[in-house]
């Protein structure tokens, strides 16, 4: 990587429309060459952030830098940043190859045709150069849009929900494809999406945004295993959240004891935020085990629903205080239960996480359903 390229940094970046603040002061550094995802529900400010990086919207305040270069006050056409638009925005009056060459031609690249053809090969569309974009299927148009941005070898390539219009199967295929291409070309990709699964599948690092604010930043596993807010816990996968009180400092083996509904439970010290006594104790459904094999944390309840999904079975277990826990069990022949049975649910201290109880336990959950 040559020295002119570098990390993209957003410094206290904000965007307001009148009294509405779309993006709260946002500080973010995106490492050069990484696959980064901006994840959040619609209206969380992720697309506005993307448009500010592209230069299509001017920030209200804050700075944008690529490496040492401050690009905040440059126009979109002066930035070495390219976008794959959600609607693809291919030029209908040009052939596919002319679309792909458009950026190179603007820079007077003599080798535009060859580079464009190579990039079409990279996205597996070598044969369609002479066609018009409207003659291609949605998935192919998506690839053309990607090629048109890629061919310019931008410092940062922005993807605005690029897979949103594709059907599920094609979307899965393109996710793998995009990841392959990103690794092959080594460019910085910033992918805006509301699909948590897509973000986790593809990105090295994810910034979860909510209501114009950065909720949490981290690699997919950290976000999933150690969410720092109920929003992240619910928006990335499912979480069972139990109200609990911290009973004291950590013991020698690094676990903290908490009390939830008259039951003593334990959670790893590093999964508990500092200085809180009232917590939501969270456990992912697949970390819970039917029976006592899961760990020292045990709760008893009645099986209220059993749904078989193939690789796994999902149980709804009702606690004595009426709360329903979701348990997902691999269909490996162990730990079966039937409807109406009283069962023990167990898990290890390391599999739980604790969140400040002052937050809404439902935050982010309804948004997942909305997007399917």
């Amino acid at each position: 990587m040559d020295t002119s390229k570098g990390d993209l940094s957003l410094v206290a970046l904000t965007k307001s429309y009148g009294s509405f603040t779309a993006v709260q002061p946002l500080d973010l550094t995106i490492e050069a060459g990484s696959f980064f995802a901006l994840l959040g529900p619609s209206g969380c400010g992720k697309t506005t952030t993307l448009r500010m990086i592209a230069g299509l919207d001017a920030p209200t305040s804050g700075r944008i830098r690529i490496g040492e270069k401050d690009i905040t006050d440059t126009k979109a056409y002066q930035r070495n940043v390219n976008t794959v638009f959600q609607s693809y925005a291919l030029f209908p009056h040009m052939t596919v190859i002319d679309n792909v060459m458009f950026g190179l031609k603007r820079r007077g690249d003599k080798d535009a045709k060859r580079k464009a053809q190579e990039t079409l090969e990279l996205v597996q569309l070598a044969q369609v150069g002479d066609k018009r974009p409207t003659q291609l299927s949605g998935g192919m148009q998506q690839r053309v849009a990607l090629a048109r941005a890629l061919v310019n070898r931008p410092d940062v390539l922005l993807l605005d929900e690029p897979l949103g219009a594709l059907d599920l199967k094609l979307r899965r295929q393109m996710q793998i494809e995009l990841k392959r291409i990103q690794q092959e070309v080594g460019l910085t990709f910033i992918h805006v999406t509301h699909d948590q699964e897509e973000a986790m599948t593809m990105a090295d690092r994810i910034a979860v945004m909510n209501a114009g604010r950065l909720e949490q930043l981290g690699d997919p596993a950290t976000l999933y295993e150690m969410p720092r807010s109920t929003f992240v816990a619910n928006f990335l996968g499912q979480s069972n959240l139990l109200r609990a009180q911290v009973l004291g400092g950590p013991s020698d083996d690094g676990v903290v004891r908490v009390r939830s509904h008259d039951t003593e439970l334990e959670v790893s010290r590093e999964h508990l935020p500092d200085g809180v006594t009232d917590v939501w104790l969270g456990v992912r459904p697949e970390k819970l085990r039917l029976g006592e094999a899961g760990g020292p944390n045990r709760l008893r309840g009645i099986v209220r629903d059993v749904s078989f999904t193939g690789v796994a079975t999902q149980y709804i277990v009702e606690m004595p205080w009426r709360q329903e826990l979701t348990v997902v069990q691999q269909n490996d022949g162990t730990a079966r239960a039937t409807l109406g049975e009283t069962v023990t649910v167990s898990w290890a201290a390391a599999h739980g996480f604790a969140l400040d109880a002052s937050q809404d336990a439902e935050a982010g959950a309804e948004l997942v359903d909305e997007h399917g």
């Binding site: 592209a54 230069g55 299509l56 126009k75 979109a76 056409y77 002066q78 940043v81 390219n82 976008t83 638009f85 609607s87 925005a89 291919l90 030029f91 209908p92 009056h93 458009f102 950026g103 603007r106 820079r107 018009r132 409207t134 003659q135 048109r148 941005a149 310019n152």
Partner: protein, 264 residues
């Protein structure tokens, strides 16, 4: 009977077509006539005299040239002004936008005779001499409205994201306009310009109010000739104009169809 019933739509279509084309056919047929006397109202004898000598009547080709000249200048000027107005109205929200919309609509809604006479009054008051200059000003005015309507409809269908994409790919505002916006708006601009040309070319009422003895346009020449007998050359020019119009429309259709086939 049942056969007729089944093909009723075809009969109706044929009848409409005949109704619309008969005048043109009559004109074409009579352009080959050698009239007996001054009036070319009954077919006398086949002749190609008028076709071989279309400028054979005094003043006819001068008036045709003037009409073509006015039509070209008026339609091209109107195309440029009208397209700019259409982009402004279609793309931006500004103070006076609805007032502009209304003003653009006015010349289309105003009876020509009112417009012609009021323009004459205005030109006289301002000391603008009658003649080609005055006619041009008048024609550009009403042509602009039609161009605006045609181009505005096209601009409304343009995806602003395409211009953003062009900017994103490094095209400055001028390049974006020339390479993306203009080519996409071109069919609307072409349609508006053609409409403007034909409106200017055959305008009689407004032109007549503002003409001088040295600025006889083709419609004025024909109108003047009817009293003393229309020369056969008028039929020749009429037929040629009809064929040219037909050619334009058919070409447009073929291009559109080819483009659609590529799209589909």
């Amino acid at each position: 009977m049942a056969w007729i019933k089944r093909h009723l739509i075809a009969f109706a279509a044929l009848a409409v077509l005949v109704y619309m084309l008969v005048p043109n056919i009559v004109v074409a047929v009579f352009s080959f006539n050698e009239p007996k006397g001054k009036f070319n109202y009954s077919f006398n004898e086949f002749s190609t005299a008028a076709w071989t000598n279309p400028c054979g009547t005094q003043g006819i080709c001068e008036s045709l040239g003037l009409s073509l000249q006015i039509g070209l200048i008026a339609s091209i000027t109107a195309a440029i002004l009208g397209s700019m107005i259409a982009f402004a109205l279609g793309r931006y929200r500004f103070r006076g936008r609805s007032a502009t919309n209304l003003l653009i609509f006015m010349p289309m809604a105003t009876p020509e005779v009112v417009m012609g006479s009021s323009l004459l009054t205005l030109f006289l008051a301002l000391g603008v001499p009658s003649g080609e200059g005055a006619i041009l000003i008048a024609h550009i005015m009403f042509c602009v409205s039609f161009v605006v309507v045609a181009v505005k409809a096209r601009v409304a269908t343009l995806d602003p994201k395409l211009e953003e994409a062009a900017a994103d790919l490094g095209a400055n505002p001028t390049q974006t306009f020339l390479r993306v916006t203009l080519p996409l708006a071109a069919p609307g601009i072409a349609a508006g310009t053609l409409l403007a040309f034909s409106l200017s070319f055959d305008d009689y009422i407004i032109t007549n109010f503002n003409a001088s003895p040295s600025s006889i346009t083709f419609p004025m020449f024909v109108w003047g000739a009817t009293a003393r007998g229309v020369p056969v050359q008028v039929y020749v020019i009429g037929t040629v104009m009809f064929l040219l119009a037909l050619l334009f429309v058919v070409t447009g259709q073929v291009i559109g169809k080819r483009r659609n086939r590529q799209v589909a």
